[in-house]
Subunit: 343 residues, 2 copies
């Protein structure tokens, strides 16, 4: 064991083959446990030189009744829906929430974690910034036994509960739909390659192509940094290409809408000449013309599930072992892709 | 003076006819002041039984370097723009921000104030919920000398600095534009009557009518609670009316978009048969078809100005006397109203 390493309840639990909540109860001298079990755990904790984390203890004992939430950006309808779900759930259970946004910046995200921890929140719900590749700030939370869970933008590197949507399946549904409508050459407009959702949605795109007998070698992936300028540039480049696609699956709705603007401006008929589908189901997508086929992500429900699970952990209603919740996405077919009646 | 009333620096300042920041400097024993002035202020403070507010003092001395922000809702593009302006400004000056949303609930707003104050923020930026008619929670902040300012949804009842937009002028610009395009009967679709912006925008609407020789008695005001259902119902009722308007000014863009959906569904040509204008300049308004004429509110700049002013107050760079900043709005003419070429 490294010098200076602080032994956690999780390590004691692992050593004894019991759950973390059992260790926690033993160290709190809970009457629910068998005295023998309690004794065994307390002795192991002593032998491992466990220092009961005073901060975590004081947080647990004198609860602030506040949860901290960190999201990449608040202008995104998806994240503001997450927050509504978190807030409504927290409020029903007597908690308030404080929100910080990272603005997709790793440094700001670290500052947010520090700020919320200093404010003595009882627990945190975190969605990572685009820049975050290093997870030491989260590992520190974990080691200090400050309860937190991750949602939407998560990392497998930290053993806490996670709530995500089934990105690959949602993309698969959208691309399958385009192919069913008669599209022969479907392109995937992707955000930066290292984004989790870029990869996951590409998986779904390739799976749908493969089901329709189109090999990955014939896939058409267009990359953009998701700025409106670049989205426009890439769309124009695609239109100028020799083997022009007749269907487009865009990674997110705002990208799909930028693409739609260019297609309309260039006089292309949607969906007759090019069909289009997005992913998110932003409010704009329903009112734009033609209305945008998209994949609905349950943002509000994601917030509800994340908040309820964290509060269940705080109230010792569920084991501390990390859970993974994967929510289903659904296809919302609209006029931008419907070539066949009643299809 | 009421029993239990806590004397404030503001009261001492008033009594002596000096500024609050002078009182504050005297009580901090600042070398900038003339010893005589200092003596006079300290004696007055003693005679009034002033208790130097320990919390405010500790906040000022050991700064948390965090500002608290309370907004009615985060799904609104306007408020999320405010927050971006606040956050970017705060970040540049070494501060982080924590955000709470009231969800338009008075109770939640009070809980948010308590939460942020308990978290020892250095100051607050507050935009009121739709329900807030009682300002005791703000008066308490004021009496405790916790620095805060208000933005967008403000009240005249609390003597702190405020940042707002010129609502009446923006509405005037939109309605004048509709009249200039040849509309003869312009309706105003308004939110709940007691909302500050409902009133202010109505002022601008009536002013424009009056300039075009249309008396207030011939104005056409349609009220809605701003839910999509009610917006739809009111629009259908307007279309069924005998003296159908040929132009509509909607109080906010989301309402204008709901109206547009109904007009399109009913086969009305926009702007030929009915011209339409909104207020906010949401991103959807630019991409909808026809694109929506609207009034642009500088949400980001409002956040910047509010944050800079609060931080200036915290750093004693400006006097503590309340300031009022009124930002200008601008007309954004688009296809939903342009009847005349180059008009």
């Amino acid at each position: 064991m490294k010098k200076g390493h602080q032994v956690t309840m999780k390590e004691i639990a692992k050593k004894l083959g019991v759950s973390v909540s059992t260790v926690s109860r033993a160290l709190k001298d809970s009457p629910e446990l068998h005295p023998e079990t309690k004794k065994r755990i307390v002795e192991m904790a002593k032998s491992m030189n466990y220092q009961y984390n005073l901060l975590a203890q004081s947080l647990r004992i004198s609860k602030s009744k506040v949860l901290g939430v960190i999201v990449p950006e608040l202008t995104s309808h998806f994240f503001s829906s997450n927050i509504s779900g978190i807030q409504d759930t927290a409020y029903k259970r007597g908690y308030n929430i404080m929100i910080c946004q990272s603005n997709e910046s790793f440094e700001q995200e670290k500052a947010n974690v520090r700020t919320l921890v200093s404010s003595q929140v009882d627990g945190l719900l975190i969605s990572l910034s685009r820049e975050t590749k290093n997870y030491e700030h989260l590992m520190e939370l974990y080691n200090r036994e400050i309860p937190f869970i991750m949602f939407d933008r998560v990392t497998e590197d930290i053993p806490v509960s996670k709530v995500t949507v089934d990105d690959a399946h949602g993309a698969y549904l959208a691309v399958k739909h385009l192919l069913e409508q008669g599209c022969k050459k479907v392109a995937y407009f992707s955000g930066p390659e290292d984004l989790y959702i870029s990869k996951k949605r590409k998986e779904g795109y390739l799976k749908a192509l493969s089901e329709f007998g189109i090999p990955a070698s014939e896939s058409k992936v267009y990359m953009t940094d998701l700025t409106s300028e670049k989205n426009r540039e890439v769309t124009l480049a695609m239109l100028a290409s020799e083997d022009r696609p007749d269907g487009i699956f865009a990674m997110i709705d705002p990208l799909a809408i930028d693409i739609m603007m260019v297609l309309k401006e260039q006089g292309l008929k949607i969906p007759e000449e090019i069909a289009l589908a997005g992913f998110t189901n932003n409010p704009t997508s329903a009112v734009i013309e033609p209305s945008l086929t998209t994949v609905s992500q349950p943002g509000y429900e994601m917030g509800q599930i994340a908040a309820n699970h964290l509060l269940d952990q705080l109230d010792d209603l569920v084991p501390d072992e990390p859970q993974s919740f994967v929510l289903l996405t659904t296809l919302v077919p609209r006029n931008s892709s419907k070539k066949k009646p009643n299809a």
